[in-house]
């Protein structure tokens, strides 16, 4: 048992018993799904189908747009009926026919192939932020990773999705972990799990005793305390390492994945199944059959809840995610997406609205529970005063928005809401200042594109010339071609390659630090670097062609 501790934390009533009794089962197939193009961090995917197209389960319907994005696949077989800027709608044909990718073997196939599969399978983290899984592996490329941390803590009240998949697929999750460990080169896997999941723990122990595992796998059972499932908190708990502020777990040699993602990764690799379904905890007092269900992405929340016995007259609100960090749904027609881990259909007595806010009396209860060791009450004052420089000094952006402070606040101040809007305001400000920068980068991109087109045109002309001159046995063309320095072109190409790599790295890093942001500017810079690389490639090819041409006669 680890003796490490993260500061603060709370013990909210768990209410997991509602949903962890029934076995994992499949929700009924929906007759219609709405698949939002943005179910992940980064840019929305771009549709690659048309209205009227017939698709199978697993057919690619939208391609990722830019590096921080993920592919989207049909989750039912049927016909595309509607495509908007936000979502693609599919009507089911009831056959549920699948279109899978060729199976791979994570032990023997090359890492590139596996990474490509994670990309083409549309994998995104199933925990909360929905970070594209292949990017995480890419972030790991630049840092030696010594430990893959499996985040099985699941500390939010109500949610039992990870618990149930750990009980149902312990072997697959361990395999998925080893797959990811292989990709990031981690020699060690630590599974961090709260002690309120005895059945999952024994299932894992049993699976561990039976399988052979190349990477060392350690099961660490930690005390139940919210928010031990926060990435930073869990890493502190199982590894006693502090993730640097503004940094990533990769900076201290760790990578964090949740069990659902690992399972999905294995399914994508071993079975060739793109990410088209996930386990969702359906719970709350207004549901007669609470439990955990395999749900196709895009299933409307309303039909899903009806299928498990929703009592609409008692329903007060539906919350997506846990009660601590989740958000209330405004409409039941919203679909289940890749990051929907839990739906709580709560009655008004179950999760009543917050009492009226009263003034902060600086009692310090929030400070005692803050797992990031911030001063929530000071942040509260300065957030309301919109004093952004002081907010920066008080490290507003270190807040993980766990809600422990709001939970204990005797004045019922919606602290996290304040912080979120303050962060939003500061981001908007930054975006304003970044806009001019972005315009400059867009101009640079245009220049690079023109240069690339010019270089390619020249290369084509050179190729044509070469073809024309060959029969003539020419030699005159050589004089027209300026003397080229192959070496400097090669250097330029290498530099362009490095620039692309760097831009990718910067983007991946920025995106993982803050998955909720948009990264147009960085994507533009990456695109510019890519254009430059293409131009350099073309120039080099051009030069090579002319050199060989010169040498031919």
């Amino acid at each position: 048992m680890p003796a490490y501790e993260f500061p603060g934390g709370i013990y909210p009533p768990e209410r997991k018993i509602h949903s962890n009794q029934a076995p994992l089962q499949a929700a009924p197939l929906p007759t219609l799904v709405t698949l939002p193009l943005k179910q992940h961090a980064g840019n929305a995917a771009t549709p690659c189908v048309a209205v009227g197209d017939d698709v199978k389960v697993g057919s690619l319907i939208a391609q990722r747009n830019g590096m921080i994005s993920a592919h989207l696949h049909a989750s039912i077989s049927g016909t595309i009926t509607h495509i908007s800027n936000q979502a693609i709608t599919i009507e089911a044909d009831g056959r549920d026919s699948w279109q899978t990718l060729p199976p791979l073997d994570w032990r023997t196939d090359s890492p590139e192939k596996l990474l490509e599969r994670l990309d083409s399978g549309g994998l995104a983290g199933l925990g909360g932020a929905g970070f594209p899984t292949y990017i995480k592996a890419q972030v790991a490329e630049h840092h030696p990773i010594d430990t893959l941390v499996v985040n099985a803590a699941e500390c939010e009240p109500y949610i039992t999705a990870d618990d149930l998949i750990l009980r149902s697929y312990p072997n697959d999750i361990l395999e998925g972990a080893q797959l990811i460990a292989r990709l990031c080169g981690a020699p060690r896997i630590i599974i961090g799990i709260e002690d309120n999941k005895p059945e999952a723990i024994s299932a894992l122990e049993h699976a561990l005793s039976k399988i052979q595992h190349p990477a060392t796998i350690v099961l660490k059972v930690i005390e139940t305390r919210y928010p031990s499932g926060g990435e930073r908190q869990l890493i502190k708990k199982v590894l006693d390492r502090d993730v640097p502020s503004g940094g990533l777990p990769a900076d201290i040699g760790a990578l964090c994945h949740n069990p659902g993602t690992l399972l999905a990764a294995l399914h994508a690799v071993r079975d060739g199944k793109p990410l088209v379904e996930r386990v969702v905890t359906l719970t709350g007092e207004t549901i007669s059959a609470p439990g955990n269900y395999w749900v196709r992405l895009g299933t409307p929340v309303g039909t899903l809840l009806d299928s498990v016995g929703l009592m609409p007259d008692q329903l007060h609100q539906v919350i997506v995610g846990g009660p601590m960090m989740g958000t209330p749904l405004t409409t039941l027609s919203s679909p289940v997406i890749k990051t929907t881990n839990c739906l709580i259909a709560a009655s008004i007595t179950e999760l009543p609205p917050a009492p009226m806010e009263s003034p902060c009396i600086r009692c310090g209860a929030c400070e005692r529970v803050c797992p990031a060791q911030l001063l929530p009450q000071q942040l509260h004052w300065y957030a309301r005063a919109e004093n952004d420089s002081t907010l920066a000094k008080l490290n507003l952006f270190d807040c993980i928005e766990c809600g422990a402070c709001s939970y204990v606040c005797p004045s019922f101040i919606p602290l996290v809401k304040d912080y979120r809007s303050a962060k939003q305001r500061i981001r908007l400000k930054q975006i304003e200042t970044a806009k001019s920068e972005h315009a400059k980068h867009r101009f640079e991109f245009r220049q690079a594109r023109l240069a690339r087109e010019e270089a390619e045109k020249q290369a084509r002309r050179q190729a044509r010339l070469a073809q024309h001159q060959k029969p003539a046995g020419g030699g005159t063309g050589n004089h027209a071609t300026p003397e080229v320095d192959l070496r400097s072109l090669r250097i330029a190409q290498a530099a362009a390659k490095a620039a692309v790599k760097k831009a990718e790295k910067v983007l991946a890093r920025a995106a993982e630090q803050d998955p909720k942001q948009r990264f147009d500017d960085l994507e533009t810079q990456l695109a510019t670097a890519q254009e430059n690389l293409k131009a350099a490639d073309a120039r080099l090819a051009n030069a090579r062609a002319s050199t060989t041409q010169k040498e031919t006669p």
């Binding site: 500061p7 640097p244 503004g246 009396i361 600086r362 001063l375 920066a392 000094k393 019922f412």
Partner: protein
Amino acid sequence: MSMMHASQVGTAPSTAHLMRWVIAATLPGIGAMTFYFGLGVISNVLLAGLFALSAEALILTLRQRPVRPALGDSSALLTGVLLGVCLPPASPWWLIAVGAFAAIVVAKQLYGGLGHNPFNPAMVGYALLLVSFPTYMTLWSPPQPFIAETLFNETLWAQIIGTLPPAKLDALSGATPLDAFKHKGQAVLASEFWASQPLPEGTLSAWRNVALAWLAGGLVLIVKRIISWHIPVAMLGSMTLIAALFYAGDPSHFASPLFHLLTGATLFGAFFIATDPVSAATSKRAKLIYGAGIGILVIIIRTLGGYPDAVAFAVLLMNLCVPLLDIYTVPRPNGHSRAANKSMPEGPL
């Protein structure tokens, strides 16, 4: 937006709940004081509470703020109670009213109401009365278990008519232990002073028992996690230390640490006044410094200054330092290599 709230599960108390707990925790102290100083203590507390609530209602009406929720949070009542126990038994009603007015209207509401006052309201009221009406504020009768009952009719009458006949003044006034010790004169040795029995029989033990009653209430607050231990421990610790230094230097002139701890407003102040969350420092380190500062000031003022007791002034002086303390004690968040105030963090800003 977090959806789970304290109220529905009953783990975290509301502000009103906290205030009522503090009021409840004053009961042992009030009980002990009543035992030694008579029912005038209770009438003080009731009157002060009443005046405080009235002042709060009045000023909120003038400020056009909702009155009911503010009265309902019991913070004004608590201020009144705390002020009431500081006053000599059966103080004239206008004295209490002036104190309550200063506490609620000036110290609290003119600064923006609950949560915004930089100074402890009860101590502002008390300090104002102390400097403005020193005669009335030193009318502590010698503690006499229950015989104060006979005195009560007279004192209650005095409380109602708001003034005292000069003849009664002598009967009522008696030095508190701190007062007596303060005015023993520099020439007299402490041992001689005590040997001369400067106080009526039982005075010292009465004040000690009252102090212990406040300690009991304070411990309840700590156990119930209404207040944290940092401020009382730091304050009592630094008082003990500084008093011990004086005492070790010249035991014939300076009082022992135990004397300082068990007389005057020490324990009451440590648990009920210094810990007022609104006007105290916030982070743990800041609380330790804040508490220690109060303790040091109390001993210095009591020993070298012009007032026998100094808790009110020490608290108010340290209230002044709170904003600075809060700025310079920002804790180092996880993942930061140095304290945040020393270096601007890297990151989004």
